[in-house]
Assembly symmetry: C2
């Protein structure tokens, strides 16, 4: 698969930008709410507009490169691109079912399992072999993320993690769908050396269609229609942008931006890079909340950061890091 | 230093026994209390009797091996053996000062720092070089132990870890004394190929003396003397065994047993093995409390076990575990 390999520095840079952008996403979304914590706009329109924006940007960039861009147009190839959107659609529904069985804290903590399922699905779909050390690193990232999310206070029904078996079941299904979507997307992007923006166009075209279908379905089947400030019912399509502020557009464009970064990472790096970037983003968001929004710093946040950082170092450890300096440590890999 | 190296299995066995025995120590000590949570006996006599018991056992075993046991009797060598006892004496006092500044939760969590200081002092005193991966492993063991001890509920003044700067200062001093005592003991035991039991005899002879001096000092200077059930004042020496039950003797002999195991580990393995054994013992005790004493299982205990186990695997990872299977991963250690 002749995909140009970027330098380690390039990948690190893109990953770092994704971390910051993902962290900003949460903060921007909160900032886009009204002061009573509600959305003045239809939040379900945000993914649709982000997909459309990604499609427009990718099409424009592809047009710019049309002279040299490699393009595959056979049906078999194009037919692979709706799959991620379908998986995400199913995943969204599973998330709702999952959440109906567990409290928000358990929902968040079990959500970290997608770190491990991504590794598993990478092995299954792309034949990527991780070393034992790398598997331990992924386990530690999961544990570190979960640790930072501990809220304690079992008396308040905090992190007791008591949930019905069905809750755990849907949590695991949700994690597998996440991992499957990531691994499949990476598989599709790396399958050939088509231009990144051509692959994006296919991905986001289907994404736009599916999101539109979803919005239409919700809009047509809803029993209590959304109302404007003066009590007029809002149409799901024609009043789509009702209540949109500048901040809302920032939420949309930031979401589009992170999506484009993920696309690049899937083609030129791998799903594990994405997993680390988004996990670190969660910790960065918590740190930012401590620094700027009055969240009290907790030992679990500090410990979570320590463990996640250790995980990152371990995953990307150069082999020399595992051998005492000065020893003649040759590996007997030929004996395997 | 021609000290006979035990097999990995032997070391693992001794470490496992130490883990179980250390865990039992806490449970036995609790069992030796009366039903209102107090000690019917003078707890300060326990370390003294344990040192004496260790001395008696070591002398007996040395006598049994007197034909072949190597013995060094010069003053310079013998003069090294009081040092661990002196360090432990100072450490005990520092622990009291430390505890006066922080709550029990912070005291316990900061206590884990001795894992890291042991590694540092091993480097300083014995020139032991740890790989970067092993340092990360020690950091993870510290983090994992701390995670399991999180109590949450900042509202109840739980694990907020807010302590005056002096509290952190004394905590760090305490951790360094622990690490220093361990590393120095290992240094002394490995310094020559003297018989283990001869070295033990010196160690425990001085230990007995210092403990006796300590008991005498406390007994002579105490303002409120201990009283028997019928109100008679108890003498610190002649009534030393007042209130001793069978369980108390089990506490003493178990403490002696763990001490002898640690001695073996210091001579034939290293301080890191001891550190892992005692950290695991803490987790085993918590598990036992969940299984038998009604402690509620918490996510932090589960996460702590996961992280500590990962640390153990990482520390003792064979170099092949850091390389993808099938690759020709030669290490460029000659280029260092």
């Amino acid at each position: 698969m002749p995909v140009a390999k970027p330098s380690g520095v390039q990948t690190l840079l893109v990953a770092a930008i994704l971390t910051v952008a993902t962290s900003s996403q949460g903060l921007l979304t909160t900032a886009s709410k009204t002061h009573d914590g509600k959305y003045a706009y239809n939040f379900a329109t945000v993914p649709l507009l982000a997909e459309t924006l990604k499609l427009v940007v990718s099409a424009a960039l592809l047009w710019q490169r049309r002279a040299t861009a490699r393009i595959t147009l056979d049906v078999k190839s194009v037919a692979m691109f709706p799959v991620p959107s379908i998986i995400y659609l199913v995943h969204n529904n599973v998330q709702f079912v999952f959440l109906s069985y567990v409290d928000p804290s358990t929902y968040q903590i079990l959500g970290n399992l997608k770190i491990l399922t991504t590794g598993v699905l990478l092995r299954v779909l792309l034949g990527r072999k991780l070393t034992p050390l790398q598997w331990i690193a992924l386990g530690l990232l999961t544990a570190g993320a979960a640790t930072s999310q501990l809220s304690g206070c079992a008396a308040n029904g905090g992190s007791s993690l008591s949930a019905p078996a069905l809750g755990y079941f849907w949590g695991i299904v949700s994690a597998f769908l996440s991992g499957f979507a990531a691994a499949y997307t990476e598989f599709v992007m790396k399958r050939n050396s088509d231009d990144l923006y051509w692959q994006n166009c296919q991905l986001y075209a289907f994404g736009t269609v599916f999101n539109l279908m979803r919005l239409a379905y919700d809009g047509v089947t809803e029993t209590t229609p959304r109302l404007s400030e003066d009590g007029q019912p809002l149409h799901w399509l024609f009043d789509m942008l009702h209540g949109y502020s500048l901040t809302t557009w920032l939420v949309v464009s930031n979401l589009a931006f992170t999506g484009l970064l993920v696309s690049w990472i899937m083609k030129f790096a791998d799903s594990i890079v994405k997993v680390y970037a988004t996990s670190m983003a969660m910790l960065v968001t918590m740190l930012a909340s401590v620094a700027f929004f009055g969240l009290s710093p907790t030992p679990q946040l500090f410990l979570g950061i320590v463990i996640a950082s250790a995980s990152l170092q371990i995953y990307y450890l150069k082999p020399e890091g595992a051998v005492p300096s000065g020893s003649s440590g040759k590996l007997a890999t030929d004996e395997k």
